[in-house]
């Protein structure tokens, strides 16, 4: 039986149901403790080095403080959260082998249908574990690896150990430490040298449990001259209590390789979404983050690109929509560590119904990074007087011959535009939606078709009635 929590679920959030049929087979007492870590390591059968890494990370988490600038996170009650819960015993690679009650949830979310689309692989995580992971045979034959991160550690220990926590060590920030202590699920992707994975690998993350912490960990290694596009979507039930999603995503783009990572995050408005995403890019490699933040109570996320090799390119396309009760603190970090690198940040945010959207960005050019170029554009659209938008750009330029361009704009839906469009017979609400969709179009056009359609749908729903 599934229950729609109607008292709290806004009618526009169709993913807000929770399925009571899904029972945790493994669940630990609330709170972030060393006992929970030992339990997880036992259940997962992990090597000792990982157990030690987790314990060390928990100590770091407990000691770490939040930076003063971090928005609105003081009220998180870490003791009320459950740090590991799994409704499955083992990840399946056939859809039929996924437990029926979980399949039902994914059916409702339309995920099973996803696989019929043009995908190279599909993964589905529920709470702490990956219920499903499968990859097209043609890709598997070329040596492409697409597994849950846990399986990746077991089946490919060398690649795993060489890269795991190398770009984001647990010391990096409080939530990276938290993830490092309790990580579970997520994807492990390896694209061998020269292999172009021209259809996306897609993963859907679902939280079902209440007051829960999801800590998936994703590690992607694109070897020399390879290409891959990884796409993730997220949603959660609507509860009156808060949940935590603190993921870590590490990507290694080797020489001349290219990786695109697309996120469409549509968490319910009781989820704190605190994610660290970082890519190390080597000579002439290209990393592109396409980051869509449409849901959550708070999002704190700045996908970053560290350009370590000459001629690397980094790109972040960031789209945030802050509706009632949301604060999207999103942005990007571009760190130049080598000569002749280029980067571009293009951020668009919309705030309506009292929502708040902030762009926070860092451009750091180190002394050895000569002759680099970076372009930053951030545009905000504010739909009503109760909503808010802020921009916090930081530039630290130590390299020579560096070109930095920064442009920012704040706008509202103008009366002139509305009059013009309606004077052609277009209804006012359609005109507003045209203007809003036009505003985000430069980013939406970069998305896979079905995501673009979904984003337009979600934003139109969120913005309904927000321009008086």
């Amino acid at each position: 039986m599934s229950t729609l929590v109607q008292e709290t679920a806004p009618s526009t959030y169709k993913e807000g149901f929770h399925d009571d049929d899904i029972k945790a087979r493994h669940k630990v007492p609330k709170g972030a403790s060393h006992e929970v870590i030992d339990y997880m390591c036992d259940v997962k059968g992990e090597p000792d080095w990982m157990r030690a890494f987790r314990h060390r990370s928990l100590d770091l988490f407990l000691k770490a403080t939040l930076p003063a600038w971090m928005p609105g996170l003081r009220d998180i009650d870490y003791d009320a959260i459950t740090y590991y819960a799994s409704p499955i015993d083992k990840s399946a690679n056939k859809w039929e082998d996924v437990p029926e009650e979980i399949r039902k949830t994914y059916d409702k979310l339309g995920i099973a249908k996803e696989e019929q689309k043009m995908l190279g692989g599909l993964g589905a995580q529920i709470d702490s574990e990956m219920a499903y992971h499968n990859i097209q045979e043609t890709l598997a034959k070329k040596g492409v690896v697409f597994l849950s991160c846990d399986e990746g550690m077991k089946q490919h220990p060398e690649i795993f150990k060489e890269h795991f926590a190398k770009s984001i060590p647990p010391e990096d920030n409080k939530f990276a430490a938290l993830n490092s202590a309790f990580w579970s699920g997520g994807s492990f992707v390896y694209i061998p040298k020269g292999v172009k994975c021209d259809v996306p690998l897609s993963v859907y993350f679902r939280i079902n449990a209440e007051q829960f912490g999801q800590f998936e960990r994703t590690l992607i290694v694109c070897d020399d001259d390879s290409f891959c596009h990884y796409v993730e979507g997220c949603s959660a039930p609507v509860y009156t209590t808060n949940s935590l999603h603190a993921a870590v995503v590490e990507i290694f783009v080797k020489e001349r390789a290219r990786c695109r990572y697309t996120t469409i995050q549509n968490w319910s408005t009781d989820v704190y979404n605190l994610v660290t995403k970082r890519a190390f890019v080597y000579g002439k490699g290209i990393m592109e983050w396409v980051d869509g933040n449409l849901g959550s109570k708070r999002t704190v996320k700045y996908p970053s690109v560290y350009m370590l090799g000459e001629g690397a390119h980094g790109e972040v396309l960031s789209l945030a929509s802050a509706d009632k009760g949301m604060w999207q603190d999103a942005g990007a970090k571009m760190v130049f560590m080598a000569p002749n690198c280029t980067a571009r940040i293009n951020s668009k945010s919309i705030s309506g119904h009292g929502g708040r959207a902030s762009y926070r960005g860092l451009v750091q050019v180190n002394p050895q990074a000569t002759n680099c170029r970076v372009q930053v554009n951030c545009d905000a659209l504010i739909l009503d007087a109760s909503s808010r938008s802020d921009t916090y750009p930081v530039m630290e330029i130590d390299g020579d011959l560096v070109t930095v361009e920064h442009e920012a704009s704040v706008s509202s839906v103008s009366d002139e535009q509305l009059f013009y469009l309606t004077s052609r017979g277009i209804k006012k609400e359609d005109a507003v939606s045209m203007i809003v969709n036009g505003f985000i179009e430069p980013i939406v056009k970069e998305l896979p078709m079905e995501f673009a359609v979904e984003i337009n749908r979600l934003i139109n729903m969120q913005m309904e009635g927000s321009v008086g």
Binding site: Q417, Y420, S423, R424, G425, I426, K427, G438, E441
Partner: protein
């Protein structure tokens, strides 16, 4: 009266300033009227008030389209009923493709989803008339368009929407002579028994290419003189001074 756009004793203001002070005008289908007047006489206010721009308030009077008072109608409803305003300053709408916008507008005007192929066939033809190249349609609405391109886009919309009454607000301003000829030809093609046109202009120039049936002179928010096409030539020669002196004892402030 059916088959006409009637403006009856219209008073309108913007903010607290009264601009139109009892304007009367009837445009029958098949007729082309021109309103000329000096700066500040209320020309743009008239255009915006007919279209229903919420910035302007009608304080008294009526506007009837085919016998129906349209003052209570929203902007979009007036447009769907067959009213069209060619803007003096068409605004830019970033990210909205001109073709998508036109298709939505045409669907709204038709009250149904039009056949896509038919729509594009028609669009292609009209674009040829106006010497607009194909790349234009993929561009975002008016964004980065030159003054001439914007005005052509207005006439293209008019051709696609097939209004019953069209108000053209200083369409000639900012056009070079070649563009003016093309735009005028476009309007002339539309002329016929099913369309009433109101051309609002400061200069007589456009009236050499679009011959109006009637010319009215607007001063101080009222029509002070009406006549045939020859009135334009007279204005060109003598300016507005002879009328303002003749008719309005107080200087025009608006």
């Amino acid at each position: 009266m059916t088959d006409s756009l009637e403006i009856i004793d219209l008073h309108a203001k913007i903010e607290e300033r009264e601009i139109l002070k009892g304007l009367n005008l009837t445009i029958r289908k098949g007729e082309v009227h021109a309103i000329m007047g000096p700066n500040g006489s209320g020309k743009s206010t008239l255009a915006n008030t007919i279209a229903g721009n919420p910035k302007y308030t009608v304080t008294s009077g009526e506007i009837r389209m085919n016998g129906e008072n349209i003052l209570g109608m929203e902007v979009d409803e007036r447009a769907r009923k067959g009213l069209f305003l060619a803007f003096q300053y068409p605004c830019e709408v970033p990210g909205v493709r001109t073709s998508n916008f036109l298709r939505l507008a045409c669907n709204a005007r038709a009250g149904k989803e039009l056949d896509v192929m038919e729509f594009y066939d028609k669009l292609e033809k009209k674009m040829k008339h106006l010497e607009i190249n194909d790349a234009f349609m993929k561009r975002y609405l008016n964004e980065g368009f030159s003054g001439g391109e914007k005005k052509r886009n207005e006439i293209l919309q008019m051709m696609m929407l097939e209004p019953e009454y069209a108000v053209m607000d200083e369409t000639d301003s900012g056009l070079d002579i070649d563009a003016l000829k093309i735009v005028s030809e476009g309007v002339n093609k539309l002329r016929g028994p099913n369309l009433g046109v109101l051309i609002i202009t400061h200069y007589e120039r456009i009236l050499r290419y679009i011959k109006p049936d009637f010319i009215h002179i607007l001063v101080g928010g009222k029509i002070v003189k009406s006549g045939g096409a020859d009135l334009a030539a007279h204005l060109e020669e003598h300016g507005y001074d002879w009328i303002t002196k003749d008719v309005t004892p107080t200087p025009v402030s608006a």
